[in-house]
């Protein structure tokens, strides 16, 4: 067992789960699938972090209007994550910069990390799921 695991008051071990999101929404199914697995994980009271790297940062872009393409706009679900006690959202600074985006373009509060911080955060996890 890892030393980083903590124990819930009277429950099983809580593990640190990280979801790595690197795909733009709608063009592929990855972003939606990730979100669904995140919501499932939340019901097990685990320590969940979401990170957004490369085109994954586009998942959080404000102002998504999908009526014209006939696909459900799932971006409001990121705002609902707080209600499932998922509050650890991290965004890669370099990915934002390359795309001309800033935190003001995102629809939820996030913590922006540099390369080293992101790498350290990954190394602290028990389980990493990649989308």
């Amino acid at each position: 067992m890892s030393e980083q695991q903590t124990t819930a008051p009277s429950g099983p071990k809580v593990k640190k789960f990280m979801f790595v999101n690197r795909k733009a929404p709608y063009g592929t199914i990855y972003a939606l699938e990730s979100l669904e697995v995140v919501l499932i994980t939340a019901t097990f009271d685990q320590d969940v972090s979401l990170v957004f790297i490369d085109d994954g940062v586009y998942e959080l872009a404000k102002g998504q209007q999908t009526k014209g393409i006939g696909i459900k706009n799932f971006s409001p679900s990121y705002r609902a994550l707080e209600g499932y006690d998922i509050e650890k959202l991290y965004v890669d600074q370099a990915s934002l910069d390359q795309r001309g985006l800033t935190e003001a373009d995102l629809l939820v509060p996030v913590e922006v990390l540099n390369d080293q911080q992101m790498g350290e955060l990954m190394a602290q996890q028990d389980v990493i799921l990649s989308f």
């Binding site: 733009a24 998504q64 971006s75 001309g100």
Partner: protein
């Protein structure tokens, strides 16, 4: 001819290869995740500006809207709807989808 791109310029080399081979007077239509290449202030902006000097550039508006990028559309790229997409396919005798 008409070149159609559907991949993000940050995740695929489809746009780069297309722009290498497209000839003056050709059209390029950005759809699906390729619409990010039509946005301003990013790593592809200058490349698209240069491409626009010899090519006709279009972007599919519903895909731009879906991704929240409508307000970031860069100058020189013409938005089209689905009917406009069909018009482009009809206008140019040859189409290539750079999947």
């Amino acid at each position: 001819m008409l070149h159609i791109i559907n991949k993000s310029p940050f995740a695929s080399n489809a746009l780069d290869t297309c722009l290498r081979m497209a000839q003056a007077g050709h059209a390029v239509l950005l759809i699906e995740d390729a619409v990010y290449a039509a946005t301003q202030g990013n790593a592809t902006t200058e490349r698209m500006r240069q491409a626009g000097t010899k090519l006709s550039l279009f972007v599919l508006q519903p895909d731009l809207d879906a991704r929240g990028m409508t307000a970031k559309l860069q100058d020189g790229i013409t938005p089209v709807d689905y009917a406009g997409f069909v018009d482009l396919v009809e206008k140019y005798p040859t189409s290539q989808s750079w999947l």
